[in-house]
């Protein structure tokens, strides 16, 4: 995990401001608008199955964004986000299965529950730094499947058998679209709102405080930032994002079971974070694409060696894009703008 060293994080976080200087805001907004338009148009051309996969990509992207807020922007490590993802999924599933709550209400409910748990977990986590924090959160991830199987909770969690959830129906006035398309739109809207909120957050005063703590906690404290409050709040917000992603996944998969939320999920999210770009918000979606599709690609090349091929692809991607997809895009833009300023130099130095 050398990519997660402090200086790397500092570099990748410093770049967005440079990029903002290079890509004019109007152009950036135009690019985002084009992507959003494409995202809304896809269901008209793609099959139900592809819509299901893309919903999962968005969901993983949202979960990775949660982890990114904590790790990329605040410098706290977590291997425990599978636990928050699972908690969100189970909150939604239990509300729908046992209490017949409307699926849309389960999303904020999952967010609130995960925020609370994340905030509380953030309090003891204040005393732990770097690897020690990673280890503490690792404990959370290993404990989660067992807690879900715990005998006393079986009435709610369904124990090892898990819970079956009904996939949401499209509303009556939208009867021409099917369940997968509707779910995709619900996911897309929720994810867009939450990405926009995250972008606003990191550009705000609060966001600067969060990043200042990452870059130099002592200096941040000296400037009057309440570091413990901001760190625990960031933990809570991070858990909220990942928890809402978990709730959406419960709707998409229509089933939750303890085996869905093991430590492997945490590691996948971490891989997605690094691949997408530590400290980059749009990069999270690329991380989501990687988490969903690359294991499938590896599997299609060879069943027996899927794990090894996955590893090789991972190494190649890390080698080609050491700062993640976001860093790669930034480097390309930087080179293009250099070339535009001085075309005689050619595209390379």
């Amino acid at each position: 995990m050398t990519t997660l060293r402090d200086e790397d994080i500092a570099v990748s976080a410093a770049v967005p401001t440079q990029r903002a200087a290079r890509l004019r805001p109007t152009l950036r907004h135009a690019i985002v608008a084009v992507f959003v338009a494409i995202a809304f148009a896809i269901p008209f051309v793609a099959s139900s199955f592809v819509m299901f996969q893309l919903s999962e990509v968005l969901i993983y992207g949202l979960a990775i964004l949660g982890l990114n807020l904590l790790t990329g922007f605040n410098g706290q490590f977590s291997l425990g986000h599978s636990a928050f993802y699972g908690l969100g999924a189970y909150t939604a599933a239990i509300l729908m299965h046992n209490y017949e709550v409307n699926y849309l209400w389960t999303l904020p409910a999952a967010g609130v529950v995960c925020f609370g748990v994340g905030f509380l977990f953030g309090l003891p986590a204040l005393r732990l730094q770097n690897l020690y924090l990673a280890l503490a959160t690792f404990a959370l991830a290993t404990a989660m499947p067992q807690i879900l199987k715990f005998h006393a909770l079986e009435n709610w969690t369904g124990g090892v058998q898990g819970l079956v959830v009904d996939q949401p129906d499209p509303p009556d006035f939208l009867s021409m679209i099917d369940g997968d398309q509707w779910l995709y739109y619900v996911t897309l809207v929720v994810v867009l709102l939450m990405f926009a909120a995250a972008a606003t957050l990191v550009r705000s005063r609060t966001g600067r405080a969060i990043m200042a703590i990452r870059d130099n906690p002592i200096a941040a404290a000296a400037m009057g930032i309440n570091t413990s409050l901001y760190k625990t709040l960031t933990f809570g917000v991070s858990a909220l994002y990942t928890g809402v992603a978990g709730a959406l996944s419960a709707l998409a998969v229509a089933f939750v079971a303890p085996d869905s939320f093991t430590i492997f999920l945490s590691i996948s999210l971490l891989v997605g974070l690094v691949i997408g770009g530590v400290g980059s918000i749009p990069g999270c979606l690329f991380g989501g694409l990687f988490v969903l599709y690359v294991p499938n690609i590896a599997n299609s090349l060879s069943n027996g060696l899927a794990g090894a091929i996955y590893g090789v692809i991972l190494l190649i991607v890390i080698f080609v894009m050491p700062a993640g997809a976001a860093g790669f895009v930034r480097a390309v833009i930087a080179r293009l703008s250099r070339w535009r300023q001085n075309p005689t130099e050619g595209g390379y130095r």
């Binding site: 099959s47 139900s48 199955f49 299901f52 996969q53 999962e56 290993t142 067992q146 199987k149 124990g159 090892v160 058998q161 898990g162 079956v164 009904d166 996939q167 949401p168 129906d169 499209p170 009867s175 099917d178 369940g179 997968d180 996944s249 998969v253 229509a254 089933f255 939750v256 079971a257 303890p258 085996d259 869905s260 093991t262 492997f264 999920l265 969903l292 294991p295 499938n296 599997n299 069943n303 027996g304 899927a306 794990g307 996955y310």
Partner: protein, 407 residues
Amino acid sequence: MKQLTRRTILAAAPAALTLSVPFVSARAKDYGPGVTDKEIKLGNTGPYSGPASGYSPVPKSQVAYWKMINDQGGINGRMINFISYDDAYTPPKTVEMARKLVEDDKVFFIASPLGTPCNSAIWHYMNEKKVPQLFVATGATKWDDPKGHPWTIGWQPNYQSEGRIYAAYILKEKPGGKIGVLYQNDDFGKDYLKGVKDGLGDKASMVIVEASYETTDPTVDSQVVDMKAKGCDVFVNCGIPKFAAQAIRKAAEIQWTPLHVLSSIGNSVGATLKPAGLDNAKDLVSDFYLKDASDPKWKDDAGFKEWSAFMDKYIPDGDKLDQGFVAGASLAAMAAQVLKQCGDELTRENVMKQAANLHDITVPMLLPGIKADTSATDFAPLKQVQMAKFDGQRWNLFGDLIRGAIG
């Protein structure tokens, strides 16, 4: 169960249309999706990677078995295109892969997906889409549900009925015994425990210690010591090989010699008894429905020879002591039987009809006398097992075939 919602119908109608149109126009014969005059496309999911990759011989040997069938000319002249995907034993991935198989690859049906949580995840989906989920590779009890889930059919004797068989044996051998049960804290472990207690009926209080372990635990030594200390004289050991072996070894170390019943999950000589020490395993009792590939008594058995030749040719680097290869080959052989029975009426409806119409069917590695039997109200193909006692070298089958009380 509120399955037949408006969404179900809405989702099923366009799917049915898109799936059926090309076939109706292309040919007059009665074919379901994924079937042509030359080919039948089947799907499968299994744990090639992830925490349960120890089970990967099961899907691997299915792939190899269908290859053998193709080399022998296929089934009724059609080659089998068997598509097997990795789901890493994670339910969301199983859902994704099953949907890919059904909607993208357009397979005829899905054969023997592995794992209780994985099959649970696609249970409703498969039944909603009316795609057969044939011979699931798990021993949970719930798969025998022809009314609620007419598109899913089980396979192996379920864990609960095995537990009942152990209880019946204990009641006969040691009616006043004090029982300690060691089980894994998950679906199959709890199914065994329930089976044992149900089988004991009003004598369920004979179970005085219920000790569970997690797959992540380092040892089960303390559970075993505790059972001896509490005076247990019957030990039902429902551990997977690693933990079953530890328990056998520990019991010998502390010179505890209960009536020791070992569940079929952990009764592999290669994986459990050798590491535990063959001497320590003497007089253990267990149950079987497949032939133990490590047992030399089968060496002249026609079924074993067939399987062994298959292994030599198609999986030359596979460990023949791994029962996963036996299970996978048997699953594929049974699915092949269903396809043979279907003849040229290759519709999904007929697959389920034929799967529920197995009478006295046997495949090479089932124990002699064990037959698959199903009917429209009975979706549990295998129900019989035979008890066996370990003599320090190998398992010796004894007694009659026993029929589980459930399913």
